[in-house]
Amino acid sequence: MNQLAHISPIYTALLTVAAPLVAFLYQALVGKRDQSGIISLLGIVCSFIFAALTWLTIWNHPVVSAQLTWFTIGASTFKVGILLNNLSVLMLLLVPTVALPVHIYSRAYMKGDPGVHRYWMYLSLFCFAMLGLVIMDSLLLMYIFWELVGFASYLLIGFWFTRETAVQANKKAFLVNRIGDLGFLIGLAIIFTQFKTLNLVDLFGEAGLIYQSAVTNGQWVSPVNSMDQIWLTIAGLAFFLAAMAKSAQFPLHVWLPDAMEGPTSVSSLIHAATMVAAGVFLLATVFPLFNESTLLFIATIGTITAASAAYFALGQYDIKRILAFSTISQLGFMMVGIGIGTWDAALFHLVTHAFFKCLLFLSAGAIIHEMTHFKVHSQLDFDPQDLRNMGGLRKYMPKTFMLMSIASLALAGFPLTSGYLSKDSIVISAYEWAQSKGDFYLLIPIILVIVSILTAFYIGRLIFKAFFGDFRIMDQVRDKLLDAPLHEASKTMLIPMFLLGLCCLFPVFSLNPFSYHDSWLMDGLLLDEYTFAPSHNAHVIIPLLLLIGSAVSWIIGWKWYVQQKYPLNANSLSLKAAFNQAYINELYQWIFVDGALKLARFCYWFDRYVVDSLVAFIQFIVLSLSRLSVWMDKHIVDGFVNAVASVTYWTGNQVRLVQNGKLQTALYSVFLFVLLGLIYLIFF
């Protein structure tokens, strides 16, 4: 172990990244179906080991970075390199830690799928991209991996490509992410223009270029360039746009619920734990760039996202969609954490959320897996993901129930769980921040508290509907199927879930279950100073408030869902709006998709009928001109020649008539010329 620890962290980090890449390439080039899974699993195990080694060497140690020249364009050289600081090694460790259980779980979950080798290939590609994203030391490289992550996500969402909804969803996911990528690219362009480098160490390291630049006289001045200060805000917003798309922030959150079309294991890894968190990671990385207005904007968007997603989650029946909205909502919390300046809290929440949300998804996957089996077995046609078809599963799947409950408690921020620590850290910080700012800003922590209670309620609803009460579908087929068709998920699935369940508990992060300040993670990321004064009262009141609120919401949920005293009209406008996500998708379809298509068709119409007919018109003119010239040639130029000829001929012919040997004609001409001569003599 000691010897291993002496290996340079650079190499271990590289190996961490390389292992899944090798797995990917191997499967892409020579992959055979029967080996599928093993290679990827092996890759991620290696990755995990190396990541752990790296983490051990780097965490709370000086920053390490290494670079190689990549290419030179013009006078500027771009380097490829890795940057290992607490933030990046934390993420570096997190990814394989979450990915490893998911890989193990997938072995069972994806068993028997005809395209399973593709699944493993894509999954390895994703792990590679995600690991690459976190350790890269240049914004350009980050961007590259950022897009690769989106690409892998595209492949995995559309894994079942024969499903129309799946390919619609992956297209949507990629396109919405592309919008964010544009933001990233513009951000890159601004940074490069301003600082002539994209290296994170140069930019954001100690005494980096960012800190040397300042806004003076309306100009954003850096050591190498200066531009209008608006560009500072735009740069911040551009990076935030990137994060918005990737982390599914309102109004770009629409892709994430649809992305649930992918396999559940994928949703757990990519669309809950890691990739969607990349936005938060990015914002944490470029945090020094943000100015006041950008931060406020981020906090506001985060709040809106948290609230709207929680609201949408209330109206969903699809178990994965509820979790998806829950993810969006929690990402909103993280954004608020960034927006108020406590990105360490945001990162903390990111990490804890990764574990419990991953577990939630895996549990949901286990349920869906069993429900699908049941569906095949009973030959009934129902949606295995629909909560309304479930109920009473506690009896059949007690371990899953237990693990999911832990995760749900963590999500709800119940004490003794990791979620309690991280969520409180955000809410309390938000409160403290608002207090230092003024009255109006208090709206944000208040909303966050309400959203937290709502979170408790909707996750309670999920648990109650799925695990308590009666198994509704079962009643229909009870007489046909005497043997118990539902059972606990296989061990291959349960073990990784169990591991993740452990990570949802407080001791993993902090020895003191009630103070997030004591967590090692916050210590490691500790910011030098918060911009606001801590408030000790908040540390007591807010957790208490949340706890009581959650408890009350659960009691209500119990009454409504378990005891069947549902007071609300399921068809009420607000519930319908929640179910349909306030019709945002339809709005987007209407405005952007249809709009773009209409514009495209118009352009094509314009191209075909205006631009091309302009050409045709010119052609017509040229043709007409040529016809005219042909006509002229025939009738005027040629006609002139012909006319000369025919005049000569005619004259000759006429004169010839004179010489017809007739006396009188001769006489006539004699007299004619006499007359003409006389006329000439007299008048001229």
Binding site: G74, L182, L185
Partner: protein, 533 residues
């Protein structure tokens, strides 16, 4: 060894061989063509390997490499002066990568024409003539020579489209021919104007030498394109007129938006190999011409008018992308995507920054590989069922998994997925044009931002096509018979596609392969133009 002359005239030898062989050996024509093209590719590779990346080139003849100069036409014209036309070829960092690209795309085109049945003799002979002209264009440093190759190129293309093309081939061929000829005829006027304006400082004779044309000192003071005199044509500065006319001549080739309508027709009607050449090489001649000729000979006007160039670029990007989105014909969609992608080239060139121009060059190279691959992929499905309509296919991924894999890779590479070459090109065009405002070239930043919308739209049309044609349940217009026809790609096709896409990947991962050779020239060009801003 006169390597460039060999490179240029080897195909002519192939043409002679092909023409000399009697028709009963017609199956050997493609092997002859292939053999010569392989040799050519190797020669181009030697050029690449022996290229000294530190030599700047552009307006400095000393910086060109593999230079060959032979007096070609010397005529004493009495009072008009002495006519001086040289056979002058040479390459610098700007032409060398394009030369390599051309050799490669030619190889691809030969591979794609393996199954040509209709009079292979004429076909391969014309293809080789085209090959020669293209090589000549990228090497020529004498404007007269350049123009000669430029015109020679049109002829085989006209016949290749007009004889071996699709249903509306005559229309497309004539449209293509007229468009290009329209541009080049006016170019000839400017060439003559330049000839009378420039003198060879060594002999004092008028000259067609492009390098001399790039030096303001070689211009006669009172000549039409002279630098000190304010000559005017129709009230507009003569140099501006010259620049604009040359620009449009090349912009038709690029193509820019109002002058692009030949491209969809020509691409759609042309046989697959010709589409590959059109997209892979022909469009690059436009971009190359703008850099080599418009920018280097009229640097002052380039600095003056880059705002308009940038605007045209941005319009091309977005307009082309929107048009591609509306297409139902796969080949037409790719043709319009070419318009969009070549818009980036123009935007990058207009930025007048090292990043922008390098990005534009890189985009040209990358587009050369990728569009060639895309057209080849369209050809694959068209060969099998003779239909290209997007809506005629559905769920191809199940029938042709390997093909779908290649298509997906090519599509993603084209839409600028990092790791592939197009990304580097587009990203640096955007970065460069964004940077332009800071170096004061007058290109506003919103153009860069507007250009980036093209990246989004390109993702939209490529993914939509992928969804419509390849994913979902199998549903084919031709039913069962099509399903039997649509075999997965064979090894010949893989042999062509794999290296192409691998190259796109290689360049995406190691852009230095291109940039290293490009940098000196681009920096020299930028500083040359910067004097006039």
């Amino acid at each position: 060894m006169p390597i460039l002359s060999l490179l240029i005239f080897l195909p002519l030898l192939a043409t002679a061989f092909i023409l000399a062989l009697p028709t009963r050996y017609k199956s050997s024509y493609k092997y002859i063509a292939l053999a010569f093209t392989v040799v050519q590719f190797v020669l181009a590779g030697i050029c690449y390997a022996h290229f000294d990346a530190s030599q700047p080139g552009v307006q400095d003849l000393g910086g060109y490499q593999f230079v060959e100069q032979l007096p070609w036409i010397r005529l004493d014209l009495g009072s008009i002066g002495k006519l001086e036309i040289d056979y002058l070829v040479g390459i610098d960092g700007i032409s060398m990568p394009l030369l390599l690209l051309s050799a490669f795309v030619m190889l691809m085109a030969i591979g794609a024409s393996w199954n040509i049945q209709k009079s292979p003799k004429g076909y391969f002979a014309l293809l080789m003539v085209l090959n020669m002209a293209v090589m000549g264009i990228f090497c020529a440093l004498d404007f007269f020579l350049f123009y000669l190759f430029y015109e020679v190129m049109l002829l085989p293309l006209y016949f290749l489209i007009g004889i071996w093309g699709g249903a509306r081939r005559e229309y497309a061929a004539i449209k293509f021919f007229l468009y290009t000829l329209f541009g080049s005829v006016f170019m000839l006027l400017i060439i003559v104007g330049l000839y009378f304006s420039v003198i060879n400082p060594l002999t004092g004779a008028h000259t067609f030498n492009m390098i001399y044309m790039m030096n303001p000192q070689n211009y006669l003071g009172d000549s039409i394109f002279g630098w000190d005199g304010y000559q005017e044509i129709l009230g507009i500065s003569a140099r501006l007129v010259g620049f604009v006319v040359l620009f449009f001549a090349f912009a038709i080739k690029v193509p820019i938006v109002p002058l692009h309508t030949w491209l969809p027709d020509a691409h759609v009607e042309a046989p697959t190999p010709v589409s590959i050449i059109l997209a892979g090489i022909l469009l690059k001649i436009g971009g190359y011409g703008i850099i080599r000729i418009c920018y280097s000979i009229f640097p002052d006007m380039a600095a003056l008018s880059n705002w308009w160039l940038g605007l045209i670029g941005v319009i091309s990007i977005i307009y082309g992308a929107l048009n591609a989105l509306a297409q139902k014909d796969l080949k037409r969609m790719i043709a319009y995507s070419s318009v969009s992608h070549m818009g980036f080239v123009l935007l990058g060139i207009a930025s007048l920054t090292a990043e922008g121009i390098s990005g534009a060059m890189f985009q040209m190279i990358s587009h050369g590989f990728l569009s060639a691959a895309l057209f080849f992929l369209v050809g694959v499905v068209y060969d099998r069922v003779h239909d290209r309509n997007i809506y005629s296919f559905r769920g191809l991924a199940q029938l042709m998994p390997k093909y779908t894999g290649y298509v997906a890779v090519a599509f993603f590479a084209s839409l600028g997925l990092p790791g592939f070459s197009a990304f580097i090109g587009e990203a640096f065009v955007i970065i460069g044009s964004f940077n332009a405002a800071s170096v004061g070239t007058g290109l506003p930043r919103w153009m860069a931002i507007a250009g980036s919308i093209g990246i989004l739209l390109s993702a939209a049309y490529f993914l939509w096509t992928l969804q419509r044609m390849f994913f979902g349940q199998i549903r084919l217009k031709g039913g069962e018979s099509w399903a039997n026809e649509l075999n997965d790609i064979n090894s010949r096709e893989q042999l062509i596609l794999f290296p192409t896409l691998a190259l796109a990947l290689l360049l995406g991962v190691m852009p230095s392969l291109i940039f290293n050779n490009l940098n000196a020239s681009v920096l020299n060009l930028v500083s040359f133009i910067q004097q006039f801003i």
